[in-house]
Every structure is written in C-alpha cells, then in structure tokens.
C-alpha cells in the first residue's frame, strides 16, 4: 500500500510539474533565506569581534580623572601621569609585556605646498608592541633619539598619502607647528577602527620631543599597558589600581582620580550589540520562513481545491480515504524535503559567496540548517495533508461535482 501510494504520488508530482515546482520553490526560498541570513549574521559578529581585538592584545588603558560618560570637561585640577609612573609599572607589576605612555595633539603637518591636519603622538617603542603594529618602511626610534628627544617621526599611511602621494616619504622633512622633523619610518596600514576612526591618520614622535616642543610640560595623559598572553588582565588591572592609589596617595575610602579601561570590556559590550544584530537578522529570517510557509500553504490549498474532483474520481473507483490521504502525504513529504535540500544548498552557497565578497568569515551553523529544514518541511506536510484530508472526507459524489 505504501509502495502504491509512492507510485501514485510520483505520478501526480510529474503530472503537475508546474505546481510541484512552485511548491518546491516556496520551501527553497524559506530555507535558503534563513540559512543565508543567520550565517551572514554570525559572520558579521565574528568579523566585528576580530576587529576589536585588533585594537591591541590584552590591553589596559590607564587614564586620569574619573570614568564618566557624557562630554569631557577640561578639568585642570586633574593630575596627569609622569614618566616615573611608567617606570614604576615596569618595575612593580608582574606579567607586563609592554608599557606605552602617550600624549597627543592635533596639528597641521606641512610638506612643500601641501598641508594636512592630523594628530601627533609622543610615544616610545613599546607603542608598537602594545598596538601590535609594525612598520612598512624605515625603522623604529633609536634609544638615543628617545632619550634626547630628537626631531624624527614615523608617519601613518593616510598622512603619507595626503602629503606625499606616490612619492617616497623616507628621509623627508615635514613641518609640525614651529619645527620640522625627519621621517624615519612609515607604519603599516591599520584601517578604520570599529568606531570609525581612521587609525592611519597619525604621526609618531619621541615622547621627549613631544613634551619639549609641542606640549611644553612633562605630563603624560595616558598609559597603555599590555599584559602577557597567559596573564589575566583582571589581575593586572587590580595590581595597577593598587599601585596607582598608592603612588597618588589616595586614602582608603576616597574615590580614585584615575581609571583603568580593559579592552575586553569593550569587546563584551560590542559583542552583545552584535548579538542583537544576529537576533534581528534571525527574526527577519524567521519572517521569511513564515512567508515561505504561507506560500507553500497557498499552493497546497489551491491545489487541493483544484484536485477535489480528482479525489472524487479516486474515491468513486474504490480508493479508500486513507489511500488517497497517504498519496497526498507522500506527495507533500517528497516535495517539501526536496525543496528543503535544495534550499540548504542554495542558502549555504549564498552565505558563502556573500561572505567572500564582503570579506567576512563564513561560519557554519548546523542548528539553523536543521531548524530551517524541519520547519519548512513541516509546513509543507501540514498544509499538503490537512486540506487533502478535508477533501477525502467528502462524499465521492460531492467531490466529483466540485468545480
């Protein structure tokens, strides 16, 4: 009986090729869109997370003042850091890979007849470790250049492009405010940060030189600390807090006048945002699955109405109700699962090629494939079966008279 139903179902599918194709298409669209959406959502999340971790590995940032949201006010009473603080960290905190003090100022960089407004940062060589950033050309600072505060600089790709275009920048002198400095290196391309800032728009000079010629004081407004990979940043952060409270003589119970930012916290915040993004995409996908389901439902309902007479003929020549139903059930299962399988392949291919062209990672999510497949197959079967059941329960003569 099952074999008969199978034969009859295949004949009916073949006979109604157009309708069969439309049904399959409904399932294909539903399954493929869910798979593509969720895969791409996961890929985007992974992409953003990767990007944030590119900001620096295991990085902590020590800043003066208090961690307040909202606009920053120029509070002159805030005590900045000194070079002694940097040395103290190196001396007293365990598990530190690099400590990079930094000060920055917006300036207008001039070369021959071109000028470009950029940001000059006073740094030392630990900066390259903390930022995990290398040079494309030239060299990093020499110890004596750092010590004496020599007028040399390393420029970012954007600065190079704006001032030099295709020309060689190495060894050239550019003017920063009232003095000129010689270019000894060009940084590699870093690209835009996750927050949209152009990280290549930068000029690095020795910290000493920055203090003497640009800021005119020995203050250090920011220290970046990079911990070793196997050391928890949590632990380093606590040690740093203790050290700085002591150095800045903050009594027990009083608030800190500095704060430490862990890059991991930022990653977590952004991570939860992108999770929302995935959820949103998932919701959109669920709607397309639903719409696909309604499409299947429509075709099935219309086809059963159209086929009521056929059901009548089958019943009149002696088919049992359950034989007719079994045939319709087999038809629905065959069409829906065929659509489901095609949908899986199509969805994965779309996700794969989209991931390639958007340059985001391709992430395979087995659960979503299964959920999409079973849901749309279920819709196909349910809506193929129940209207048929209604028709098969009619009296054969009523079914035959159906127009």
């Amino acid at each position: 009986m099952l074999w008969n139903a199978f034969v009859l179902a295949l004949r009916a599918i073949y006979r109604n090729m157009m309708r069969s194709i439309l049904t399959v298409l409904g399932v294909v669209i539903g399954v493929a869109s869910v798979i593509a959406m969720v895969f791409l959502g996961d890929g985007t999340t992974a992409y953003i997370t990767q990007n944030i971790s590119k900001l620096g590995s295991n990085m902590l940032i020590i800043l003066p003042g208090q961690d307040k949201s909202g606009p920053r006010t120029q509070d002159t009473s805030i005590k900045l850091f000194k070079i002694e603080d940097v040395e103290a960290i190196k001396r007293e905190i365990y598990g530190i890979k690099a400590v990079a003090p930094g000060a920055s100022k917006g300036v207008n960089a001039v070369y021959s007849n071109k000028n470009y407004s950029t940001s000059v940062e006073g740094r030392d060589n630990d900066y390259f470790i903390v930022k995990d950033w290398g040079l494309e050309d030239g060299r990093i600072f020499l110890p004596n250049e750092l010590k004496s505060g020599k007028a040399v600089c390393i420029i970012g790709q954007t600065v190079k492009k704006e001032l030099f275009g295709e020309q060689n920048a190495m060894g050239a002198n550019i003017r920063l405010e009232k003095f000129s400095c010689q270019i000894i290196g060009v940084l590699q391309t870093k690209g835009a940060s996750t927050f949209g800032l152009d990280q290549d728009n930068i000029i690095l000079v020795p910290l000493k030189m920055f203090q003497r010629r640009l800021s005119g004081n020995l203050d250090i407004p920011m220290i970046q600390v990079s911990a070793h990979d196997n050391i928890s940043t949590e632990e380093v952060k606590n040690n740093l807090l203790e050290l700085f409270r002591e150095r800045r003589r903050i009594r027990h119970g009083l608030e800190d006048d500095f704060y430490i930012r862990d890059l991991k916290d930022i990653i977590e915040t952004v991570g939860s945002t992108t999770k929302m993004l995935t959820l949103l995409l998932g919701a959109v996908a669920a709607i397309s699955l639903l719409v696909g389901g309604i499409g299947i439902m429509n075709i099935m309902l219309v086809s059963v109405t159209e086929r009521t007479r056929e059901i009548g003929i089958r019943l009149a020549i002696g088919a049992f109700e359950r034989e007719v139903l079994l045939q319709f059930l087999v038809e629905a299962i065959v069409l829906s699962s065929l659509g489901g399988i095609i949908g899986i392949f199509l969805g994965i291919s779309i996700a794969y090629f989209a991931a390639m062209s958007f340059e985001i990672p391709f992430i395979f999510n087995k659960e979503i494939v299964l959920i999409a497949f079973f849901f749309s197959t279920l819709v196909g079967v349910v809506f193929g079966y129940f209207p048929a059941r209604k028709a098969a329960r009619l009296d054969p003569i009523d079914a035959l008279r159906h127009e």
């Binding site: 008969n4 009149a316 002696g318 054969p396």
Partner: protein, 230 residues
C-alpha cells in the same frame, strides 16, 4: 426452479435531504429488482431522483430509509470503507463528464482502479492494454485526455470501468456530452459488454434513442417510479 436472489434489490428505499419541515424527498419508497446480465435504463426529468437512485445502487450514497440488497445481502448500513470495497471489486463507473485524470495517459487512467485493487505492475499494464484494445483505442495508449476526442475519452472511461471485470457497470448519462454518431458508438460498446461479458448495465439517460438499447426502462418522476417495463 430455485429462487435465485436478484443481483440488486431496493426495498422501499427513500432518500431525504434536510430535516423536518424543510425535508425534501429525492426518492420515495422505491422498489427495484435487477437481475444479473440485464441492461437497464433509468429515465426521467431532472430532479426526478434518477441520479440519486443510481448513486445508491453505485454505493456512492446510502439510503435514508428502506434496504438495499446486493446479491441477497443487505448492504444498507455499510460504512465508507466497506462501500469502497464493493465499488472496487464489483462496480464500474462511467460519468457524463468522463472524469478522467487530466495530463495522465489513457493507459495510466485505466490502470488506476487496478492499483487500488493491488494488482502487480506488469499484470496491471497488460490488463489495461487489453481493456483499451476492447474499446478500440489500442493505438492511443499514451495519449492524455486533452489529446483525445470526447468519444475517445468516454471509451477510455469505459475501459477503466470494465478493466476490473465488474459485475455491474453504472453509466450516468454516458452520451450526454457526445454527438449522436459518437453516442451510438458508445451505446454499441456498452451493449457488446452486456452481451459478451454478461456485465449488468445500469444507465441513466434522458434520450429515448439511447434508452432503446436497454432491456428494461425505469421511468422516474418526483422520486417515484411511474413506469417499470419497456
């Protein structure tokens, strides 16, 4: 002579539609006896109950009152599946509108009742081919209804009805959609199966010319038989 029971016997059969005050009788106390091998024509104006009577004999419908005997067995109270068993084993149907499956070859249409009877594929094909040969359609086996003329379609329907070698062939206005030449051909075909295969034929028609092929004519009016014999 021993009293052999009739093939079909309707005793005081009534069919009512609706309830109480709105009740209308499609059939009112109808008594019919049909013997094996007879060719019966049922005539009457539309709404006279001839189709209802036919549907009851064809086990497509059940009577509201009275009893229906098939070879002496009371089959009045059978359920849907039991009636389906009677239909697939003993009855064949030919309808006015042919009622073939569209986009399906003549051969597959004729095979259909055999599939439900559980006949194996090879044997099924052989029987269906033979039935189509008998109605003179040996050369259009693979044609679909859309590629056949009305007369040919009705022949396919007849082949489908007789392929299971039924006891009774029920024909509801089989010539209703055909011109007179095709009609006569169909009637000759039915007559042939009646004579050669001893298949009992019960045919509803409103054309006197077609009714003349029958051995007996029952005339219906307002749900009752008004005239029994020829």
């Amino acid at each position: 002579m021993k009293t052999k029971s009739a093939l079909i016997e309707l005793r005081d059969v009534s069919k009512v539609y609706g309830h109480m005050s709105t009740a209308t009788y499609a059939l009112k106390n109808v008594n019919i006896k049909i013997q094996r091998g007879e060719f019966i024509a049922i005539m009457g104006p539309s709404g006279s109950g001839k189709s209802t009577c036919m549907n009851i004999i064809g086990c497509l419908d059940s009577p509201s009152d009275g009893s229906f005997l098939f070879e002496g067995l009371n089959v009045t109270g059978l359920n849907r599946n039991q009636r389906a068993v009677l239909r697939r084993n003993y009855l064949g149907f030919v309808f006015q509108g042919f009622n073939l499956l569209g986009r399906t070859s003549a051969l597959e249409n004729v095979e259909l009742p055999l599939i439900y009877k559980g006949v194996k594929a090879l044997e099924r094909k052989e029987m269906a081919t033979k039935a189509l040969e008998m109605v003179g359609l040996a050369d259009v086996l693979s044609h679909t209804p859309g590629e056949l003329s009305g007369g040919q379609q009705q022949r396919v329907a007849i082949a489908r009805a007789i392929v299971t070698q039924p006891l009774i062939l029920l024909a509801d206005e089989p010539t209703g959609n055909l011109d007179s030449k095709r009609s006569r051909e169909i009637m000759e075909l039915l007559k042939k199966f009646n004579k050669e295969k001893n298949i009992t034929i019960i045919m509803v028609t409103h054309e006197e010319e077609m009714a003349l092929y029958a051995d007996k004519i029952f005339r219906f009016k307002d749900g009752m038989i008004v005239e029994g014999e020829k």
